[in-house]
């Protein structure tokens, strides 16, 4: 039998082969293939995100505007529901039986052992009504969550709203950290300051067993982080003043923007028609949003930032300043009110200096100012001369923050339009246009678009005699100040001396005899207002009314622009509205004899239009 002994090697070889196969296979799945480690973490690690307390929003005077209030979701763990008395349960919740059954079915489909929401967004009173009885229904529990609530009925456009993140947002890299179902600022300040308001999420890694039941912290909580509450925002908006301005703008379309010229802080920001910010919060928010969206008055449209209009006569001030800086005119320069060049607003005295021109808003005067500034004989070809001149003019004008986004702390802002030479080359053809083509720009009409905010910023710049700070809503974040970009001055390249005649001219508009903005005068309470009216030609209907001003003229504390669509001449509607807001801001109250305007101004804008 000796020859059979060799077979022990065969047997041993079989053993060894299997052992080697196992060793190789184990080396592959344990050492080489990393996917099993990931699968193991997916099995056992549960990432619990703690949503931090969202920052609050205060107004200029420290009054709280936006806060968090708890809302409650009624949760259900289907497996723990025992012999549900459906009739009593539905009576308690005041919901139809079918709806409860459908929700329960959906919850069961999601998970039998994990909690899912049955009814969402219950308010505290709604919760109180059912809470005591909930003990009779095992498997149901209440989960608290924070939702935005508002202490104001105004400022909807500035504040913006908070909503659940949409799938489109989730795909953007900026929102990579967000989970489906989380809430974030969708528009307005809630969106712009999302990072600050949001705070930092806390993350806890928990280990769960095969049934999803928690088994304690992962590695003793080594990787856990605590959530950090969001920072509060302190707005420069004055809640009381804002309410007042919104009330005055009731029934109209248009905007009011007021700035503190020294700081660039936005004091009033009205986009009319407006809505209550609470509309876009809480139960039924989706339906209410759709209603706003379908409203033909477009209340969701953020007019001060998004609506660009030709600025009208108020733009004459910019043109004059640019021409003065170029040195092509002096304050004492006079031009005839030549109606052949362009029709003037009305018959008036001879504009022998800029003050008289501004007071009367003389169209031919400013036609000639701009022509002097543009047509400087750089080329013997008058087409080329217009091209070069317009380019130079545009460079100067854009320094006022026009034709570009100002950079306010809110998305949605539009650039507006300051036309370039290329613009006309493309539209009319190279050397097919001259000054006669673009003269409308001289009086703020034609191919020019400016937002309400930009117009207000021009007023602040004039009030400051040549500089501005980018307008902003937030003057303090948490314990700190505003964002750094809202702390630096921008100069517009106009020497302060050139304002010496412009500002008195603007005072003349309001306080002078026969000035177009006489309705805005606050001289009776000892405040001199420097302003400029404007009437913007509107090819689609009645003209738009504007009034831009700052006060007090000597030591400006507020710069304001009122823009009312289809209200005709700026002096009759926009000017008194602006004066009410300025007086209220500067004195804290309105003189008794002007109270009648508070009753008279609100309402449709059309009634200010004198139809000929």
């Amino acid at each position: 039998m000796q020859y059979l002994e060799g077979r022990k090697y065969v047997v041993q070889a079989i053993f060894l082969t299997v052992a080697l196969v196992f060793a190789a296979r184990l080396f592959y799945i344990q050492v080489l293939d990393g996917s099993y480690k990931l699968a193991a973490d997916r099995n056992t690690l549960q990432r619990i995100v703690q949503t931090p307390y969202r920052g609050l929003i205060y107004d200029r005077k420290g009054q709280i505007l936006v806060q968090n209030t708890p809302v409650y979701d009624l949760m259900v763990v289907p497996r723990e529901v025992k012999q549900l008395d459906t009739a009593r349960f539905c009576q308690l919740l005041q919901l139809p039986v079918e709806e409860v059954r459908a929700s329960l079915k959906a919850a069961r489909a999601f998970s039998r052992v994990k909690a899912s929401p049955l009814v969402q967004n219950l308010s505290t009173p709604e919760l109180a009504a059912i809470q005591d009885n909930l003990i009779d229904f095992p498997g149901f529990s209440v989960k608290a969550r924070m939702a935005r609530s508002y202490n104001t009925h105004s400022m909807a456009h500035a504040l913006g709203y908070v909503g659940a993140i949409t799938p489109a947002f989730l795909e953007k890299p900026k929102f990579a950290k967000y989970q489906p179902g989380e809430f974030l600022g969708i528009t307005g300040l809630e969106s712009y300051y999302e990072d600050q308001l949001m705070g930092r999420r806390g993350v806890q890694y928990r280990m769960v067993n095969v049934r999803g039941i928690e088994k304690g912290a992962f590695r003793g909580g080594e990787f856990d982080t605590l959530s950090v509450a969001g920072q509060d925002l302190h707005l420069s908006l004055d809640s009381e003043l804002q309410d007042y301005a919104e009330k005055l703008m009731a029934g109209k379309r248009g905007s009011v923007v007021a700035l503190d010229p020294k700081t660039g802080e936005i004091l009033v920001f009205v986009s009319a028609p407006s809505f209550d910010p609470a509309t876009l919060s809480g139960k039924g928010m989706g339906n209410r949003y759709m209603e706003l969206l379908r409203n033909p008055e477009q209340p969701l449209f953020n007019r001060p930032l998004m609506a660009t209009y030709p600025p009208g006569s108020t733009f004459k001030l910019v043109n004059e300043l640019v021409a003065l800086q170029m040195g092509v005119v002096s304050p004492q320069t006079g031009f005839p009110c030549n109606w052949k060049l362009v029709r003037c607003t009305h018959r008036h005295e001879y504009p022998s200096n800029v003050g008289i021109a501004i007071k009367n808003s003389c169209n031919p005067y400013f036609y000639q100012v701009m022509r002097t500034a543009v047509m400087r004989g750089r080329s013997t070809n008058r087409f080329e001369d217009a091209r070069l001149g317009l380019a130079e003019w545009r460079r100067q004008v854009m320094k006022f923050g026009l034709g570009e986004k100002l950079g306010v702390d809110m998305g949605q802002e539009k650039k507006g339009l300051i036309p370039s030479s290329d613009f006309y080359d493309k539209r009319n053809g190279y050397h097919h246009w001259n000054f006669r083509t673009v003269y409308s720009l001289a009086i703020g009409q034609g191919e020019i678009g400016i937002t309400g905010l930009q117009m207000a910023n021009i007023m602040a710049t004039i009030a400051n005699r040549g500089w501005y700070i980018t307008p902003h809503f937030v003057k303090g974040i948490g314990q700190g100040g505003p964002l750094p970009q809202f702390q630096q001055k921008h100069t517009v390249g106009i020497d302060p001396i050139h304002f010496d005649e412009i500002i008195p001219g603007m005072q003349g508009v309001v306080d002078g005899r026969g000035g177009t903005g006489g309705n805005a005068s606050l001289l009776d309470v000892g405040i001199s207002v420097a302003g400029k009216t404007g009437t913007v030609q509107n090819p689609h209907g009645d003209d738009h009314a504007t009034f831009a001003a700052f006060a007090p003229a000597e030591e400006p504390k507020i710069a304001i622009v009122v823009f009312i669509e289809n209200a005709g001449f700026g002096g009759s509607s926009a000017a008194p509205l602006a004066s009410l807001v300025m007086e209220k801001y500067l004195r804290g109250k309105v003189a008794p004899w002007r109270h009648r305007w508070e009753e008279w101004l609100p309402g449709p804008a059309e009634r200010f239009v004198r139809h000929h």
Partner: protein
């Protein structure tokens, strides 16, 4: 016992005992890890009562190990000639027990194979392994397998197949398959290698038939045959009927796989094989065990997560973690290093058993030794194979590692009867 205990002790193969103790020790550590609960008191042995401790597998395993030591002493004290002498008696008794068991056992997990004696549950099928090994070794000693005595071969086949058939009747297919391992021992004793080859080829064809489109398989096989025919047509013409019938059988097998698969196998067995072929199908259903077991082992990495640090095993992702899937705990907590140590321990034990078997003078001792090696090897193959997705899920334990009294006692008995026979042989040598 005619010799002094000291002399007897010297004749015991202590190397095997040492490997055995190492495996049982390492096995217990893993059973402890698998049944460890972080909620339990820090020092359970002093703070918990006996009844409460009995709720823990690791504690019960201590009792099983303790009784196994008693068992070892008894096995070594019994005159080892008794194993030879009473082999057939034991076999007869065991067959009776296997027949009776399904009638008196309560059904547990779909099979009536567990006998309950007070608090202890025993599975007769576990003990059928060593008793059958004794019986076939005893029978082998009286015949010569090489001489191709058909009657002897038939009796041997009968002895080997009767217990597994009874076990299948009790619905414990996994335990029955173990008896296939005896073929290795018979091979060592002179069984034609053709039988092993044919079985291996049949297995390969069955697996290929499940993996590869059938027509390809038939085509490839026919092509190989035709080419061989062309090379040496004379030889093939001599054996034409044989080669044609082999061809027919193979074709029959290829197409018979479906029939076997759908009609012979039970639903759960069919699924276990489907999972082996396509593990990602139905990962939450039938594939769960295999998927989770691979995740547990695979997540161990090179050095493992550390003792008691396994998450997959601890949080019940792996089912049967202290019994059939104990290897998952080894893999997860000790990593590749740990699984290698386990495999090396098994290889050392198997090598040592073959060494011991080969030094036996008697055919009985040698055959029994090979039976022991083959049975342990089969468990090793199938148990580890199933945890890493190389074998279908068959519910058999990993020797010396898995929790459970029946299995520990049965493997201990299996091994220590061999050591007793070996010790007796040495004493014989010393006597002369």
């Amino acid at each position: 016992m005619s010799t002094s205990p000291a002399r007897y002790s010297r004749s015991i193969d202590w190397v095997t005992v040492l490997i055995y103790l190492l495996m049982v020790g390492v096995g217990w550590l893993n059973v402890y890890a698998a049944s460890y609960s972080p909620d339990a008191p820090a020092n359970p042995l002093s703070s918990l009562g006996f009844q409460e401790l009995m709720a823990f597998n690791w504690f019960k395993q201590i009792l099983w190990i303790g009784t196994a030591v008693v068992l070892i002493v008894v096995l070594l004290v019994i005159d080892s000639k008794a194993y030879d002498t009473f082999a057939f008696v034991l076999y007869g008794g065991m067959i009776l027990l296997l027949i009776v068991t399904p009638f008196i056992a309560r059904p547990i997990a779909g099979s009536r194979s567990w006998l309950e004696l007070g608090p202890v549950r025993l599975q007769p099928a576990e003990f059928a392994k060593f008793i059958t090994a004794l019986a076939v070794s005893r029978y082998m000693a009286g015949i010569n397998l090489r001489q191709q005595n058909f009657r002897d071969q038939l009796v041997l086949a009968g002895l080997t197949l009767l217990p597994p058939l009874l076990i299948i009747a009790a619905n414990e297919t996994g335990q029955a398959l173990v008896f296939g391992a005896f073929l290795l021992a018979y091979f060592r004793e002179g069984m034609s290698p053709l039988i092993l080859l044919i079985l291996a080829a049949a297995g390969a064809i069955l697996i290929l038939a499940l993996l590869v489109p059938k027509l390809w398989l038939v085509g490839a096989f026919t092509l190989i045959l035709a080419i061989a025919f062309g090379f040496n047509s004379k030889l093939w013409r001599h054996h034409l009927p044989l080669s044609l019938s082999v061809w027919a059988v193979v074709i029959g097998m290829v197409f018979g796989v479906d029939f076997f698969f759908n009609n012979v196998l039970q639903a759960h067995q069919r699924k276990r094989i489907e999972i082996l072929i396509n593990p990602s199908a139905d990962p939450l259903g039938v594939g769960w065990n295999v998927t989770q077991s691979k995740i547990a082992i695979g997540s161990g990495g090179f050095a493992g997560k550390g003792f008691l640090q396994g998450t997959q095993t601890k949080f019940d992702f792996v089912p049967e973690q202290s019994t059939d899937f104990i290897f998952c705990t080894v893999g997860e907590e000790w990593g590749w290093a740990g699984t290698m140590v386990t495999i090396i321990l098994f290889m050392t034990l198997l090598g040592r058993i073959i060494y011991v078997a080969e030094r036996q003078k008697s055919v009985f001792g040698r055959t029994y030794g090979y039976c022991v090696a083959s049975i342990i090897f089969f468990h090793f193959c199938v148990n580890i194979g199933m945890t890493i997705g190389l074998a279908p899920v068959v519910g058999i334990p990993l020797p010396f590692f898995s929790y459970g009294g029946s299995s520990l006692w049965s493997f201990t008995t299996l091994l220590f009867i061999l050591l007793a026979i070996d010790a007796y042989r040495k004493q014989d040598l010393e006597r002369y």
